[in-house]
Amino acid sequence: MDRRSKLTEILKSVTKKDVNIGPEESLFESGVLDSFALPDLVSALEQEFSIQIPDSDLNPRKFDSIQRIEEYLDSRA
């Protein structure tokens, strides 16, 4: 499974919603993600990609679209 598909699966699992959304679309504005699902998404990313996301990186904007999440993961590579 490629990374984008994996991210979509993580979002589905965390939000319990269908994730039919473009990579640049806002996960918050589209209603996919809400404030209380965001911490679960961050935890799932840490687990799936074996990274520790420091609190200083916990800016909601970094996780507001699939593309932004990919950019963040690239920055941690």
């Binding site: 918050f28 404030s35 209380f36 965001l38 911490p39 961050v42 609190d55 200083s56 916990l58 800016n59 909601p60």
Partner: protein, 310 residues
């Protein structure tokens, strides 16, 4: 070593329902309940000051403890909604309590203020004598400022809570506390002079949902206490969904987290001590059982405190 001797609280009579609060932002009671767990909150009278509320909660606490205010070693008043920059409400509350000559210190920190004050009191009581810690807020005057933000206006209420910290005896011994601050997020939750409260709710919840469990684990680990062994978790009442998330993160049943947010909303610095006061009267410390206090708020400031029933 210091002890929690007694709690006190005071809530205004005027109830504002979530149907009314929801109507301010074009929504209804069900939406308010879903996003916050709040059914109603109390609003203070127009003539009340933060010091008035503080003094009423303080008097309730001292009355239950049977201690005259003049015998206090210090009064600490946490509030983020004082009417003026200075003097703060601490000295006015001390005067109202009949403790004019007792040193009175303001802690203008908002939601984490009473936790920080409790921690300071536990360290100072041995030198100064009994310390009255108060958290008092009139949030209604802030949230009613225009424009009313959808995610802010429905959350808050008014009230005051108090705790008497004694150097030599009480219902519970304060074992340890952990405090932390990070100014990187100062703009994510702030109240500028005369302005409406501004909150980046996503950032607050994201940070709080990580930092509060971590702070609680810090004090528990340092003292060899497992989360499952904690009798009750007494929290700043920010949002029911956040309390449930923290309970899940620690792997303890949500019922261990005392909650009264349904009836009072988020009363900022007052909420921790109002919750502790009601918990104390409903359940109270069991001998030898650990109890955790924790809070998170503007700053960000956060922390946790461990006490054990005597």
């Amino acid at each position: 070593m210091a002890f929690i001797a007694e709690f006190g609280c005071w809530l205004p009579e005027h109830i504002v329902t979530s149907a009314e609060a929801g109507s301010w932002v074009g929504s209804d009671a069900e939406w308010v309940r879903n996003v916050s767990g709040i059914d109603e909150r109390r609003f203070a009278a127009e003539t009340d000051t933060v010091a008035d509320l503080a003094a009423r909660a303080g008097a309730d606490c001292l009355g239950r403890a049977g201690l005259a205010a003049k015998h206090l070693g210090m009064i600490l008043v946490a509030s983020g909604t004082a009417e003026r920059s200075f003097p703060g409400p601490a000295c006015a509350a001390a005067r109202l309590l009949g403790a004019e000559h007792v040193p009175a210190l303001d802690i203008p920190m908002a939601s984490a203020g009473s936790l920080f004050a409790l921690s300071l009191a536990s360290r100072l009581a041995g030198q100064l004598g009994p310390i009255l810690v108060i958290g008092a807020e009139i949030m209604s005057r802030v949230v009613l400022r225009e424009p009313r933000e959808r995610g802010v206006a429905i959350l808050f209420g008014d009230g005051a809570g108090a705790c008497l910290v004694s150097p030599n005896a009480g219902r519970a011994e304060i074992i340890d506390s952990f405090l932390a601050s990070d100014g990187s997020f100062a703009d994510d939750l702030k109240l500028d002079h005369g302005a409406p409260l501004q909150m980046n709710g996503r950032s607050v919840i994201l940070q709080a949902s990580r930092k509060i469990p971590a702070a609680i684990r810090t004090v528990l680990d340092r003292n060899g206490v497992a989360p499952a062994a904690v009798q009750s978790f007494l929290m700043h009442q920010a949002n029911q969904n956040l309390l449930d998330k923290i309970a899940a993160s620690l792997g303890v049943p949500p019922e261990r987290f005392f909650s009264n947010i349904r009836r009072y909303g988020n009363t900022s610095s007052a909420s921790l001590l109002i919750a502790a006061c009601e918990w104390s009267r409903a359940e109270g410390f069991r001998s030898g059982a650990p109890v955790v206090f924790a809070a998170f708020g503007a700053g960000f400031h956060w922390g946790a405190l461990l006490a054990r029933g005597v």
